[in-house]
């Protein structure tokens, strides 16, 4: 059920629910924190650049967490960085979303056993909405992750708990 399904044919008027309208507005302009950690950040930048064009989904990097809606944790989260990531997340205004990009931030990746300096998954410090697998993930995979997040936001509800993704 899209927003435009209930468009009146001859007038410039739309009828929808506030929930739908808000969700549509949120998912259509997800501003990400301008923030990258490791080699995944290179793929993220490639996704932002003209060839893959993240901007066509409304994603633009913001230089401040206070103006951002989504944080893409792109790379190895060291223990030293984990405290900073948590702080960045706490500085973002609600509603806020997290995409964990790549094996390192999903579960520690190649550092899972002997990485004495690596946090084994960013979900140990902040709640993650979408995990994107890969090492590093291709830009197509990150785009897929963003589409999954948009689906999640589309079915969010302030009144109902049920927000199952169809």
């Amino acid at each position: 059920m899209g927003l435009l399904d209930k468009e009146f044919s001859d007038n410039n008027i739309l009828i929808t629910t506030t929930e739908n309208l808000f969700n549509w507005a949120r998912l259509s302009s997800l501003w990400q924190v301008g923030f990258g950690l490791a080699c995944c950040a290179i793929e993220m930048m490639a996704t932002s650049a003209s060839h893959y064009d993240f901007d066509r989904f409304g994603v633009i990097p913001r230089p401040s967490p206070r103006q951002s809606d989504v944080i893409i944790v792109s790379g190895t989260v060291t223990l030293k960085m984990a405290l900073r990531v948590k702080r960045l997340y706490e500085q973002m205004p609600d509603p806020k979303y997290v995409i964990s990009m790549g094996s390192c931030s999903n579960c520690g990746g190649p550092y899972w056993e002997h990485g004495y300096h690596v946090l084994k998954g960013v979900d140990r410090v902040i709640p993650v909405d979408v995990y994107v697998p890969g090492c590093p993930p291709r830009p197509e995979a990150l785009l897929e992750g963003l589409l999954k997040l948009q689906e999640k936001i589309r079915y969010e509800s302030i009144t109902k708990k049920n927000n199952e993704i169809v």
């Binding site: 060291t78 223990l79 030293k80 984990a82 899972w112 004495y116 300096h117 946090l119 084994k120 140990r124």
Partner: protein
């Protein structure tokens, strides 16, 4: 371009009071063993001598030789007492195109050596790394802080072979 033997001769002639050990037949790369308390004097000479002119420190790294006595600590973990650690200095002269490997051996229980940061500025972060991961103290270093591990890390130096990773750091679980 100077050969290893020519460099050895130069060092012998200029420092009659220092006991060098020359290893031209070493397994991977010939090296010179320098006493730990003389490394800064020798390095300054290697850089400033007009025939050697080692203007570049390619790399500075440390190795835990782990050759002391194995004992059990009160928790039953195996730890090492005594023994040595090695520090390697890879030098290159960009002008003359020759290279040299210098080695220093320090005491493992209280590793300490003079800093070469005042000779090659790039040694600053290399020495911080060696300090962070092996606990080697570089005397006269301008800023000897941890570089990879968090500044308030109090669980030791991770590349020592008897290192034990902690269960928690600042409320975050560390093991997988």
């Amino acid at each position: 371009m100077k050969s290893f033997e020519e460099i050895s001769e130069l060092l012998k002639n200029n420092f009659s009071d220092i006991q060098f050990e020359f290893h031209p037949e070493a397994k991977f790369e010939p090296y010179i063993l320098v006493p730990a308390n003389k490394i800064d004097t020798v390095c300054l000479f290697l850089r400033d001598n007009n025939d050697l002119y080692f203007d570049s420190l390619i790399n500075l790294s440390a190795v835990d030789d782990f050759n002391g006595n194995k004992i059990k600590d009160p928790q039953g973990n195996e730890i090492m007492q005594g023994g040595t650690m090695s520090i390697y200095y890879h030098l290159e002269s960009i002008k003359f195109r020759h290279k040299l490997l210098v080695k220093v051996i320090v005491d493992r229980d209280n590793p300490s050596v003079n800093s070469v940061t005042s000779i090659w500025n790039c040694a600053n972060w290399h020495e911080r790394e060696a300090f962070d991961l092996f606990g080697i103290n570089f005397n006269n270093h301008p800023d000897l802080r941890r570089i990879l591990m968090p500044y308030d890390w109090e669980f030791g130096h991770p590349l020592k072979k008897d290192y034990q990773n902690p269960e928690f750091y600042q409320g975050m679980r560390v093991p997988y």
